[in-house]
């Protein structure tokens, strides 16, 4: 039996991974919940967020706030791109078969992946941790970098903010209504198309932010898009496609299974993740906290 501080450190590292995935997967889940579309390009938005953040830091230099400016600037840029794609291309495919949605978002993966290669090359890039969060904390014999702690706190903060916005604001009510019945909402005089664009922009923002914030912890490389999108799929499937708290739970489970899987069965940690995804789909296709689709 490994000692407790080691287990603690391992579970915290799982928690950090979980909160990152939550950030990314919540956007994916939002798009699915409202638009009923699985967006493969969400991983590309994440990748573009990472590269843009790197680029902005290159322009600004390493000032005290440049990392934060870069992170939010990158997320805003990605959100704008998401809005353009939805408004001018994706909106024409609504009402067609799901296969067309999947293939369109996959086409975006191909195009954006190469755009990133043209702009930033294939060499791996990285950013250092922002000033103020470079230290580490000792807790129960485990060392936790401040930056990880920040991410662990940011995840629930975003989750709560999100939940509040969905439950208590007018726009949130419209989004929940659109998820239930698009036609009725349109008949009541709500501009559903604009709402969809808004949802896409918000989701892309979250994807881009996730990518930007992960730069101090993981290398920025081509291929990070197709890798993360599968992880995000696993998370939303486990929690329940379109279910907000389900995504949170899915991310937590994913993080713990992965970090302890690596510890005990290093060979089969990836396998166990996909096996879990398959098991959930077989037993409860709508996920742990989701509701069955009609």
């Amino acid at each position: 039996m490994p000692d407790l501080s080691f287990v603690f450190a391992q579970s915290l590292s799982g928690l950090t991974a979980a909160m990152f995935l939550f950030l990314i997967a919540s956007g994916l889940s939002l798009i699915f919940g409202v638009l009923r579309v699985l967006n493969f390009a969400h991983g590309s938005f994440y990748m573009l967020g990472a590269y843009s953040a790197y680029q902005i830091v290159q322009w600004l230099g390493t000032g005290p706030v440049s990392f934060w400016v870069a992170a939010f600037g990158a997320a805003a840029g990605v959100a704008l791109l998401g809005g353009i794609v939805e408004r001018f291309l994706f909106q024409r495919l609504y009402g067609k078969e799901e296969l067309y949605h999947l293939l369109f978002t996959y086409a975006l993966v191909l195009v954006l992946g190469d755009v990133a290669k043209v702009l930033w090359g294939t060499q791996q890039k990285s950013l250092s941790r922002p000033p103020g969060l470079t230290g580490a904390l000792s807790l129960f014999g485990a060392t936790i970098p401040h930056y990880n702690l920040f991410i662990i706190l940011l995840g629930p903060a975003i989750a709560l903010g999100f939940w509040f916005a969905l439950q208590r604001t007018r726009a949130g009510r419209f989004i929940r209504a659109a998820a239930l019945d698009r036609e009725t909402l349109g008949a009541l005089g709500v501009n559903v198309n604009a709402l969809y664009t808004g949802v896409f922009v918000l989701a892309s923002f979250l994807g881009g932010l996730g990518g930007a914030l992960i730069t101090p912890m993981r290398a920025i490389v081509p291929g990070m898009d197709t890798e993360v999108i599968v992880e995000a799929f696993v998370v939303v499937v486990i929690g329940g496609l379109g279910s907000f708290w389900g995504t949170f739970l899915g991310a937590l489970i994913y993080g713990q299974v992965l970090s302890f899987g690596i510890l005990f069965f290093p060979r089969f940690s990836i396998f166990s993740i996909f096996a879990l995804m398959a098991a959930v789909l077989i037993i409860r296709p709508w996920g742990l906290l989701g509701k069955p689709l009609k």
Partner: protein, 328 residues
């Protein structure tokens, strides 16, 4: 038009394909071999997506399983190709039976997600199980089938002799894929195939008239998986190695794109898609390394302008032409 449709096109193409090694270079034989194998892979997927209306996002799993089966049997066990090739179809078919049993219980997006999950499981196992699959490094140097007898026979004949082993493998692939495509054609045209189309058009109605929809879908899944496995078995030898990314999810979307590009509504569409995509790739990679960018752009144009693919576009053009003649 009528005289055109009376020509046995399939036989002509099949016969013409035999002259590729003699007429073209070694490189063209390589390309033709690639096209032929992918044509089988894409056609097997079309049985699911085009005929049954099941969008699988994990068809590469069965391709990969077939490739590993033939590869392991031939390289590590030393089984002759004659047994190792059908084994690819059988093993892939068995896996498709197990995975499909669960998949056909789900509908639409959940079906696609579960096929993806199973394919990723296959990929993860191939990626990590070093002792059997070679892990991340894959399994290089899969031997060619033994063509000794063929070469000895060919030495007696004046015209057919003097080919390389890769040429013989191309001929073998051609014959085997032709047989597989003929079999798939029979499946599609049979009452079973018609029932699959009925299920695609209206599963509720099919259920009402007493059809066990799930069982039909599972049968289609197994047949498609088995033929994908056979394609994989050939591809491993052709590629001179089997690697985990044969089963990775991006492979599944590649074959979906091929199917869509060629046209899902028709039998020949996916094969045309394989030809078009591989030819285009070969044309473009000599100019630019950004093939995915071009492919993505083609795909977007296709989705917005020609959702029926090549075969669909040709068909509607022919229909327009016929109508104009009737008017005149």
């Amino acid at each position: 038009m009528k005289t055109l449709s009376r020509v046995p096109w399939a036989l002509l193409v099949f016969a013409a394909a035999f002259f590729v090694p003699a007429a073209g270079s070694r490189y063209y034989t390589f390309l033709a071999n690639d096209v032929v194998i992918w044509a089988l892979f894409a056609t097997s997927l079309n049985l699911l997506v085009g005929y049954t209306g099941l969008v699988s996002f994990g068809h590469a799993a069965y391709f990969g399983i077939g490739a590993y089966t033939t590869g392991i049997l031939m390289k590590k066990v030393g089984v002759p190709f004659l047994l190792a090739f059908p084994a690819a179809g059988v093993v892939a078919g068995l896996f498709a039976l197990v995975f499909g049993f669960f998949c056909v219980r789900l509908t639409r997006i959940y079906f696609a997600m579960l096929t993806l999950a199973f394919a990723q499981i296959v990929w993860a196992i191939c990626f990590k199980w070093n002792e059997v699959t070679g892990g991340e490094q894959g399994m290089p140097e899969i031997p060619y089938p033994d063509f000794g007898w063929l070469e000895r026979v060919a030495a007696w004949l004046p015209i057919v002799g003097g080919y390389r082993t890769s040429d013989y493998f191309y001929f073998l692939t051609l014959v085997l894929v032709a047989v597989c495509l003929w079999l798939l054609r029979r499946v599609v045209g049979s009452p079973f195939g018609r029932m699959l189309t009925t299920i695609r058009e209206n599963p509720e109605r099919a259920e009402f008239i007493g059809v066990n929809v799930r069982r039909y879908e599972l049968a289609a899944f197994v047949v498609a998986g088995a033929f994908a496995g056979l394609a994989g078995g050939l591809f491993g030898i052709f590629n001179r190695g089997v690697f985990p990314d044969f089963a990775y999810w991006t492979k599944s979307s590649e074959v979906l794109i091929m199917t869509l590009l060629g046209g899902m509504g028709t039998f020949i569409g996916p094969a045309l898609g394989a030809l078009a995509l591989i030819w285009l790739n070969q044309q473009i990679v000599s100019y630019t390394q950004y093939w995915p960018f071009i492919l993505g752009t083609i795909l977007i144009v296709l989705l917005f302008v020609f959702p029926g693919g090549i075969a669909g576009a040709v068909e509607s053009a022919a229909r327009r032409l016929r109508r104009r003649r009737q008017v005149a």
